[in-house]
C-alpha cells in the first residue's frame, strides 16, 4: 500500500524545516552586507510555499500508528533528498553566483550527499552566506536529511521506524535505545559535539572563525567542501592537517559506539567491535604502505611522507575528500591503493560513504570460509561480527550489495566514457560519485573540473551520488516495477 496523503504531509513538513534553515542562513548576508540575501529569501519562500501546498494535500491523512508502510518510507526518503536539493540550489541560482540551474543542483546534491565535488572554479569569490549554506548542506546530509530533521524535531510521532529504516546505513541495525527517537537524539548529540570540538580545535590552530566553523561542519559530515580553492593546503599548517585528520577519523566511527564511549564510558565496546578494528587496521596499513613508498619515490622527508599519507588515506577512507596536495602527481602505484580505499568507506552508522568496513569484513570472512570449505567439506563455517554469528540473510545481502556496488561503478564508467571522458578519469569519476568522495583518480588531477562536464554528465553524477548515499537499494528499489504494483 502506498499512502499518498501521508507522503505529501511528511514531505511538506520536511520542506518547511528546510525553509526555516534557509531563512536562518539569510542572517549571514545581512551580517556581512553581501548581495546574496535575495537568493536565500526566495529559496526559503518557495520551499515554504511548496511545503504548505504539500501539507494541504496531505491534510486529511490520518495520523495513526502503523498507517505508514515500508514503501511509504522509501518513497519519502528518496523524494525528500531530491526536493531538498532542488530547493537548496535556489540560493545559488537566484543570487546569480551559479548561473546555471544544473550546476546549482549539482553543487547542492554534492553537498547533501557529502560527496564534496564542486563545479565552482573560484570558491573564494562566493559570498559568506552561500559558502556557509554550502557547508551546512553537508552537515545536514551527513547523518541523512530525514534522520536529521526527524531526530531534531520529533514532530511526526508516526512512521519514524519506516523512515529511519529506509535511510539507515549499514547491513545491521543495532539500536541504542528501545525508542528510535531517543536513539536519534543521542546520535545528534554526538554529532554536534564532534563538530563543536573540531571547530574549537581548528580555531586554536589559528584558522579564522568563519573558516573553522565551515571546515568543522564539512569534517564532521565527512563531506569535504572547503572555503578555499586550494582546500586544506591553503592554510599550510601541519597542526590544521593533523586536527582535521583526527576528526575525519573520528567521524568515520559508528556514532552509536562513540555515544557509548563518550557518555557511558564503555571503551570496551569500541575495542570489541569488529568493524572498528577493520577500519583502524585498513587505515594504518594503507598509511604505512603509502608513507614508505612516498619516502622512497618522492623528495618528501620522513615526517612529510607520513603526514601526507595519513591525511589522504583518512580523507579517502572516510570519503571526506579534503586534499593538501594533488596525489595524482604521486606514482600511479599509490593512486591504485587510494582507488582501492575509495571502495572501503569507514564504519556503518557514521557519516561516511562507500561500502563500509563491516561489509568488507564480512566479505573477507566469507571468502576465507569458502577456502576452508574446500579443505573441510562438512564444516559449518560461521561469519562472526563482534563475537556474534551473523545470520545467512545478512551475509547474502552484503554479497548482493557488493555486486551491485561494483556493477554501478562499471555502469558509471561506461556512461562517462560514452560522453567523452578519458578512460582513467571516467573510472575515477564514477567511483568518486558513488562512494561520495568527490576526489577522483586519473590523468587530470584529483580535483577534475566538474564544471566542464556536459550537463547530462552532471545530472547522471547527482544520480550516482544519491544512489551511493542511500546505499544503493533504497533508490534502486523505487525504480523497480514491482515496487509500484499492487497499490
Amino acid at each position: 500500500m502506498i499512502h499518498v496523503k501521508i507522503i505529501h504531509r511528511i514531505l511538506g513538513v520536511l520542506l518547511l524545516i528546510e525553509a526555516g534553515i534557509l531563512l536562518l542562513c539569510a542572517l549571514l548576508p545581512l551580517f556581512y552586507g553581501e548581495n546574496d540575501l535575495f537568493g536565500f529569501i526566495m529559496g526559503s519562500l518557495l520551499a515554504a510555499c511548496f511545503g504548505l501546498l504539500q501539507m494541504m494535500i496531505g491534510k486529511s491523512a490520518r495520523n495513526r500508528e502503523g498507517a505508514m508502510s515500508r514503501r511509504d518510507g522509501y518513497i519519502v526518503v528518496a523524494i525528500s533528498w531530491v526536493l531538498f536539493s532542488v530547493f537548496g540550489s535556489l540560493p545559488y541560482y537566484v543570487s546569480g553566483y551559479i548561473p546555471s540551474f544544473t550546476d546549482a543542483y549539482f553543487e547542492t546534491m554534492s553537498g547533501f550527499t557529502t560527496t564534496g565535488a564542486t563545479i565552482l572554479n573560484d570558491i573564494e569569490a562566493m559570498p559568506h552566506g552561500l559558502l556557509f549554506w554550502r557547508s551546512l548542506t553537508q552537515w545536514i546530509g551527513g547523518l541523512g536529511i530525514v534522520f536529521f530533521t526527524v531526530a531534531v524535531l520529533p514532530i511526526f510521532g508516526v512512521g519514524e521506524v519506516q523512515l529511519f529504516a529506509a535511510e539507515a546505513i549499514g547491513p545491521t541495525h543495532g539500536k541504542l535505545h528501545p525508542r528510535i527517537s531517543v536513539s536519534g537524539r543521542w546520535i545528534i548529540t554526538v554529532y554536534v559535539l564532534i563538530t563543536l570540538l573540531c571547530a574549537v580545535s581548528l580555531r586554536l590552530c589559528g584558522m579564522g572563525v568563519f573558516d573553522s566553523v565551515n571546515h568543522a561542519l564539512c569534517t564532521a559530515a565527512t563531506g569535504g567542501f572547503s572555503t578555499k580553492n586550494a582546500s586544506i593546503a591553503y592554510f599550510n599548517s601541519h597542526s590544521v592537517e593533523y586536527v582535521i585528520t583526527f576528526f575525519m577519523f573520528l567521524s568515520g566511527i559508528n556514532y552509536g559506539l562513540l555515544f557509548f564511549v563518550a557518555f557511558r564510558g564503555k571503551l570496551r565496546k569500541l575495542t570489541e567491535d569488529t568493524e572498528f578494528k577493520w577500519y583502524l587496521t585498513i587505515t594504518l596499513l594503507f598509511t604505512a604502505i603509502i608513507a614508505i613508498s612516498l619516502y622512497i619515490s618522492t623528495p618528501y622527508n620522513g615526517g612529510a611522507s607520513v603526514r601526507n599519507a595519513l591525511f589522504h588515506v583518512t580523507a579517502i577512507i572516510t570519503t571526506t575528500g579534503f586534499t593538501t596536495t594533488d596525489y595524482t602527481l604521486w606514482p600511479p602505484f599509490i593512486w591504485m591503493l587510494l582507488g582501492l580505499a575509495m571502495y572501503f568507506g569507514a564504519c556503518a552508522g557514521s557519516t561516511s560513504g562507500g561500502m563500509k568496513s563491516i561489509r568488507i569484513a564480512i566479505l573477507f570472512k566469507s571468502m576465507r570460509n569458502e577456502f576452508n570449505r574446500i579443505l573441510h567439506p562438512n564444516a559449518v563455517l560461521p561469519v562472526r561480527v563482534s563475537g556474534k554469528v551473523i545470520p545467512p540473510a545478512t551475509k547474502q545481502s552484503v554479497l548482493t550489495f557488493s555486486v551491485f556496488f561494483f556493477a554501478l561503478v562499471f555502469l558509471g564508467w561506461f556512461f562517462y566514457l560514452a560522453i567523452g571522458i578519458d578512460i582513467a578519469d571516467a573510472y575515477g569519476t564514477s567511483l568518486a560519485c558513488l562512494s561520495n568522495i568527490g576526489l577522483t583518480i586519473g590523468d587530470h588531477g584529483c580535483n577534475i573540473s566538474w564544471g566542464d562536464m556536459p550537463a547530462i554528465g552532471k545530472w547522471f553524477s547527482t544520480f550516482l551520488m544519491l544512489v551511493g548515499r542511500l546505499e544503493v537499494f533504497s533508490v534502486l528499489l523505487i525504480l523497480t516495477p514491482s515496487f509500484w504494483k499492487h497499490r
Binding site: 495520523n63 500508528e65 502503523g66
Partner: protein, 445 residues
C-alpha cells in the same frame, strides 16, 4: 516505562505491538532471529537475540533497569526462571505466564514473590472467566468495565426487534440512562452524532451504569432471549475444566470429548453435576440425542480452530442462541466474528490484554487506552483550567469522531450528555476513532 518482554511468540508480539503504540520503551528478547526481525523493522522497539534464561542476554536487554519484566515463552518453567533472573538483576516487577492452576492459589503467592515472581498469569483461567461472563450475559457480545465497574460498556448486536432502530439519536429523548459511543456497521466504525441512526444488524456500543442493564436489554429487544441454563462444551481441554469449575450452580454443563482416556481423567477433575460424554462433538445425531435443541449455549474448545468455528455454525443451525468458539489462529478471528459467532476466545490475545491492563493500572500517567472495533477508549483526569471545562459539552467544538462516554465525579458515575458541565478533577472516559487520542489530549490538560 521500560518494559522487557521475554519470548516473541504470539502473546509477546501482540503485547509488544500494543505497548509500542503507547510510547513505552519496549525491549523484546528471544532466541529466534526470524521472529525478531519482523518486529524490529516495523515497530518502534528494540530486539535482543539472546536466550530469555541467559544472564548475559538479560543484562544486554537491560532487564536490571526494567520497570516491568514479562516472561511469556511457551514454557512455564523457563518463564519462572527468567523472572527469577530478571528479579535478581533488579527488575522492579515481574510477570510470568504459567500453565499450572496450583501456582495461582492465593496461599502460594507469598512463595512466588519470595523467589522474585510478582505476578502470574494463566491464560486458560482468564479464558474460562471470559466464557462464563459471556454465558451469564448471553445477549451481550462484548463487555468492559471502567473505573472499577462504576461505568460499563457493552457491545450488543441489534436485530429487527430492537425498539430504538432507525431513529436519529437526538430524537431518542433526553436524560437517557445510556450513551451510545460507537456503532460498528459492515466493518466500519461510526462514532455517532445526534443525526445518526441505528439499524438492524449493527453492533452498538452502549455506555451505561450497572443498574440500567435491564432497561438496555429491553430496548435492544433482547428480553425474550432465554437465559443460559444448559450448556454443551465440545472438547475437554484445560479451558473446559476451568470453565466447569467457574460456572454458576444454576447452569447444567455437558462436556463432549472424543478421547475416552481424557474422559476418564475429566471425571476426576470436575464435579459430579457436570456430565462427561464420550463422542464426537461434530456429530449431529449425538448432539440431538444430548438435547442440543434445548441448549442455550454451545462452547467449542477443541484444539482445532477450524473445527471450533464449523461446530459453532452447526450449533447455530440447531437454534443455539449463544455460541463461543476458541480460535487460536489469530488470522481467523476476524473471519469468525464475521460469521456471527457470538464470542471468540483467543488465549494469546486474552493474556496480552491482561498484562496490558496490569501495566496500565500500574502506570501513573494520565491516559489509559484500550482499542476495540477500530476505535480507542481513553481515560483522562481533567486538569485545572482545561479547555473542556470552559463550557457545556455541546458548546465545545470537539472534532468529528470523538464522543465523551461518561465520567466519574466524587466516586459517582455520571453519563455525559450535551448539557453536562465537566469540572476539573473529573475522570472522563472518551471514545474516538483510532489515532485521534493525541488530538483530543489537549482538551483535557
Amino acid at each position: 516505562m521500560r518494559i522487557v518482554i521475554a519470548g516473541a511468540g504470539n502473546v509477546g508480539t501482540h503485547l509488544a505491538k500494543l505497548l509500542a503504540g503507547e510510547n513505552q520503551d519496549i525491549i523484546l528478547i528471544d532466541e529466534s532471529e526470524d521472529k525478531l526481525s519482523r518486529m524490529d523493522s516495523s515497530f518502534d522497539l528494540m530486539t535482543i537475540q539472546e536466550s530469555p534464561v541467559s544472564l548475559y542476554g538479560l543484562k544486554e536487554a537491560g532487564a536490571g533497569a526494567a520497570d516491568l519484566f514479562v516472561a511469556v515463552t511457551p514454557d512455564e518453567s523457563r518463564n519462572l526462571i527468567s523472572c527469577q533472573l530478571a528479579h535478581f538483576l533488579g527488575a522492579k516487577k515481574t510477570v510470568a505466564r504459567i500453565d499450572n492452576y496450583e501456582y495461582l492459589q492465593p496461599k502460594n503467592k507469598e512463595y512466588f514473590s519470595s523467589i522474585g515472581v510478582d505476578s502470574l498469569i494463566y491464560p486458560e483461567m482468564l479464558a474460562a472467566k471470559d466464557i462464563v461472563d459471556g454465558m451469564k450475559l448471553s445477549w451481550i457480545r462484548q463487555w468492559w468495565e471502567f473505573a472499577g465497574g462504576a461505568l460499563v460498556m457493552m457491545g450488543i448486536k441489534l436485530r429487527d426487534n430492537a425498539q430504538i432502530l432507525d431513529k436519529p439519536l437526538a430524537e431518542l429523548g433526553k436524560e437517557l440512562p445510556y450513551h451510545i459511543v460507537a456503532i460498528l456497521r459492515e466493518g466500519e466504525t461510526i462514532i455517532p452524532s445526534g443525526n445518526d441512526t441505528m439499524q438492524a444488524g449493527d453492533l452498538v456500543y452502549f455506555m451505561t451504569m450497572k443498574k440500567h442493564i435491564p432497561h438496555i436489554r429491553k430496548i435492544a429487544g433482547k428480553e425474550e432471549l432465554p437465559d443460559v441454563r444448559d450448556v454443551i462444551i465440545m472438547g475437554g481441554s484445560r479451558i473446559a475444566v476451568r470453565t466447569a469449575q467457574l460456572v454458576p450452580d444454576y447452569m447444567n454443563l455437558k462436556i463432549i470429548e472424543s478421547d475416552i482416556n481424557r474422559c476418564n481423567r475429566l471425571t476426576e477433575l470436575v464435579e459430579d453435576r457436570v456430565m462427561i460424554i464420550n463422542g464426537d462433538g461434530r456429530d449431529p445425531s449425538l448432539l440431538m440425542s444430548e438435547g442440543i435443541q434445548h441448549t442455550e449455549a454451545f462452547v467449542a474448545l477443541s484444539d482445532n480452530s477450524e473445527t471450533n468455528i464449523l461446530a459453532c455454525l452447526a450449533a447455530k443451525r440447531f437454534g443455539v442462541t449463544k455460541t463461543i468458539a476458541e480460535v487460536e489462529n489469530i488470522d481467523y478471528i476476524n473471519m469468525a466474528e464475521k460469521l456471527d459467532i457470538g464470542t471468540v476466545i483467543n488465549k494469546k490475545k486474552i493474556a496480552a490484554s491482561h498484562i496490558y491492563q496490569m501495566m496500565l493500572d500500574a502506570d501513573v500517567t494520565n491516559v489509559k487506552c484500550l482499542t476495540f472495533a477500530n476505535a480507542d477508549v481513553a481515560e483522562f483526569n481533567v486538569m485545572e483550567g482545561a479547555k473542556i471545562t470552559r463550557s457545556l459539552v455541546k458548546d465545545i467544538s470537539l472534532p468529528r469522531g470523538v464522543t465523551i462516554g461518561g465520567l466519574i465525579r466524587d466516586k459517582e458515575a455520571i453519563l455525559v450528555t450535551g448539557s453536562t458541565q465537566i469540572q476539573p478533577g473529573d475522570h472522563v472516559v472518551v471514545f474516538c476513532l483510532e489515532g485521534m487520542i493525541k488530538t483530543i489530549e489537549k482538551y483535557f490538560n
